[in-house]
Symmetry: C2
Subunit: 296 residues, 2 copies
């Protein structure tokens, strides 16, 4: 009655695995839910070990590989690394751990691809100490723009500069994204980076290289000024995930996923994470303890 070809394959039915060091990656999950309403997600936030931005690269790799293996064991058809610090240091280790049949999408390469395709010229990148310390954005951009490495200046004349802004994630996590003090903190960082002239950022694009940052969109807009493009990582990543699933024939054939089909797990559940998760995902979600380190 039901021909094999018209039946969704098991793989396309499977959820997309997505992880972050905490709940910041929920901004990526939210963008994915918007872009791919038919897909189910299994989200894991490693709240027991956050923030990855302060950890050594070795430790971030160890955690990331363990989580990716867990998500694959849970039947996920693709792995999304929704954490800039993990994308910067653990992408290859994760890809190797899950094997070539499971696509791995991180939050850095789609943004780099987008900027290169649109030939954006003056690019400033902000993120955690781990992300910026890794140099992943600058290196990838300069490489993709076929430039000489080292001076951040590409053959095409594009200029790529990176600056660590480690306090911003903490401020946003505390719900200070609209606090009046958010503006001078951002200004202080962009100023230290040498990007401010006459009260405006002298950039074509500011890459918000941390999943938390899009929540402070208005504050970045106010400080940077109206002419600087703010690069919306989560939306770009969601599109990249959709394209990759499509390319591999892994897209869900369901009409739409019910919100109840998503699963949201964290390695350490506190009241603060429960409260914040709604802010990051946009609607209330059921956050439960679980994941690779859970002994419940």
């Amino acid at each position: 009655m039901c021909s094999p070809s018209s039946r969704p394959s098991l793989a396309s039915d499977a959820p997309i695995g997505i992880f972050d060091s905490g709940i910041g990656g929920l901004t990526v999950a939210h963008a994915m839910a918007q872009a791919m309403p038919a897909e189910r997600m299994l989200y894991f936030g490693d709240t027991a070990h956050m923030p990855y931005g302060d950890r050594s690269p070795e430790l971030v790799r160890t955690y990331s590989v363990r989580i990716a293996q867990y998500l694959k064991d849970e039947g996920c058809k693709a792995i999304v690394i929704a954490c800039n610090s993990a994308s910067a240091t653990a992408r290859e280790a994760v890809a190797e751990a899950v094997g070539p049949d499971t696509p791995v999408i991180d939050v850095v390469q789609p943004v780099v691809g987008d900027l290169v395709a649109r030939a954006v010229r003056r690019i400033g990148i902000i993120g955690t100490r781990a992300t910026i310390g890794s140099g992943i954005y600058g290196r990838s951009l300069v490489a993709a723009m076929a430039a000489e490495p080292g001076d951040g200046l590409t053959d095409s004349g594009a200029r790529v500069e990176e600056w660590p802004t480690p306090l911003l994630a903490s401020l946003i996590e505390e719900g200070w994204q609209d606090h009046p003090l958010m503006l001078p903190v951002i200004r202080s960082y962009l100023d230290a980076a040498g990007w401010m002239t006459e009260g405006r950022a002298t950039l074509d694009a500011l890459v918000l290289g941390c999943t938390h940052y899009p929540l402070a969109w208005e504050a970045f807009r106010t400080v940077a000024g109206p002419d600087v493009e703010l690069v919306d990582g989560p939306a770009i990543v969601a599109r990249a995930v959709a394209q990759e699933l499509d390319r591999r024939g892994l897209s869900s054939e369901a009409k739409s996923a019910k919100a109840a089909d998503h699963q949201f797990l964290v390695s350490d559940l506190t009241e603060n994470f429960k409260r914040s998760s709604e802010r990051f995902f946009g609607t209330e979600i059921p956050l439960n303890p679980g994941g690779p380190w859970f002994k419940g």
Copy 2:
């Protein structure tokens, strides 16, 4: 030749074990080194799991007990919990784990004892979400002052109020303790707590209930005004440790410990921690990877 009584016992020769979720506890270690120059210290900072202030009480207890057992196994004669979050939630579990022969000194009870002994009346307490959420300071103070619990008002008319200031540790960890923005952030918290009137804090004493806070002493002084006593936790705790060792006959009989005799271990070593450790301890120290989770 050498009579047993004149020879230092093994126990008094042993180091004092001291731990924190990160490097903030180095302010306590520093105060101990000043107060007890003859004592050796084995410091462990659980940088792989910091900050404890954001973790659930269960997880903080699990980590703390594991660390205390490690320090005892390493031969420490006493355990100092140099972390307010761990003191608030894990003190009893740690004491039970190491047994009655190993004294356990936390950073809360000595401060409470000091305030009660001096009958300080209007007390404001700030700390991480975990510390303040536990209510340990207020509960202990109100109990010690023989008051009715609940309204924070003691029989003697003393008033005890607590307020969480979760961003301050992050700011200080980033070296922003002297940054101009530190002042409005502190002011914003003390204001929200209802402690500011006409630009000054209406308190007799402000308890800096986090090991990081004494580094921002000047900023707290500026915001609170000259009439508010800032309670210097590390110095009070160091005195309590010295008294407890003395009482138990565990004080070192050495003339003085060389700085090289101290050991400083962390569960995850990054460049940022290396840089910051000097700021927290006051002088350069050798920070090495090690401790209960170390597989080196």
